[in-house]
């Protein structure tokens, strides 16, 4: 299983763009990169997934360079409600492989 490394915590002011980078140096050819968001006292929820280049949805963008050894979650113009823990996961598209979440990045948005 590809191991992921993320910063433990980040602070940002409201209205700023936040970029959270995840390293996954031993990512396999058929691994996808998925990000989850967890608010306090709730379970994590899926926010975005990608394989290469760039993916964008209504919540975030995900940038993946050609070597796929890292990925960056980008949150545009954060608000206080974006304060959460963000988890980067790497997993295959086949089988019932278990998924390891790790420690995540705790984002604190400051007014």
């Amino acid at each position: 299983l590809a191991k992921t490394t993320q910063p433990i915590s980040m602070d940002s002011y409201e209205g700023q763009e936040v970029n959270i980078t995840c390293s996954h140096n031993n990512i396999a050819t058929n691994d996808y990169i998925t990000w989850y968001q967890q608010f306090p006292s709730q379970g994590p929820r899926f926010i975005i997934q990608g394989y290469k280049t760039k993916v964008t949805n209504e919540v975030a963008s995900l940038f993946i360079p050609a070597d796929r050894k890292s990925s960056t979650l980008s949150l545009p113009r954060v608000s206080l409600s974006d304060t959460a823990v963000y988890y980067c996961l790497v997993g295959q598209s086949g089988g019932y492989q278990k998924v390891t979440f790790g420690t995540g990045t705790k984002l604190q948005v400051i007014p």
Partner: protein
């Protein structure tokens, strides 16, 4: 709307008690998971199940067992609760491989005294 329901939000149990944490999903998902979450340690996988009566150990199975008699229900069992099992427990379900979205319950905060 998809739903994963954990039977209790808060539980207080005594050391040595047998504890059952129940999880039910209404999405007919094949895969179900139990995680525990502790400050500074993130989410750690205890057990998962990919079919009825099938189970696989996760990263920290010691002190726990699981049961999946029906597809929609996945139970986590603490045979003899200990204070180091005080934690937030999260159940999740997922239909397919890791590239499919996992849905989580609200969590059960278990305190063992």
């Amino acid at each position: 709307d998809v739903k994963v329901t954990q039977s209790s939000r808060y539980l207080v149990k005594r050391t040595g008690e047998k504890v059952f944490l129940e999880c039910v999903q209404d999405m007919d998902h094949e895969n179900m998971f139990w995680y525990r979450q502790d400050p500074g340690l993130g989410l750690r996988l205890i057990y998962f199940s990919y079919d009825v009566k099938m189970k696989e150990k996760g990263d920290i199975p010691e002190g726990y067992s699981v049961s999946r008699e029906k597809k929609e229900r996945f139970s986590l069992i603490l045979e003899s609760a200990s204070t180091n099992q005080t934690s937030m427990y999260l159940c999740a379900s997922r239909q397919g491989p890791p590239t499919t979205e996992a849905f989580f319950g609200q969590g059960t905060r278990l305190t063992v005294v």
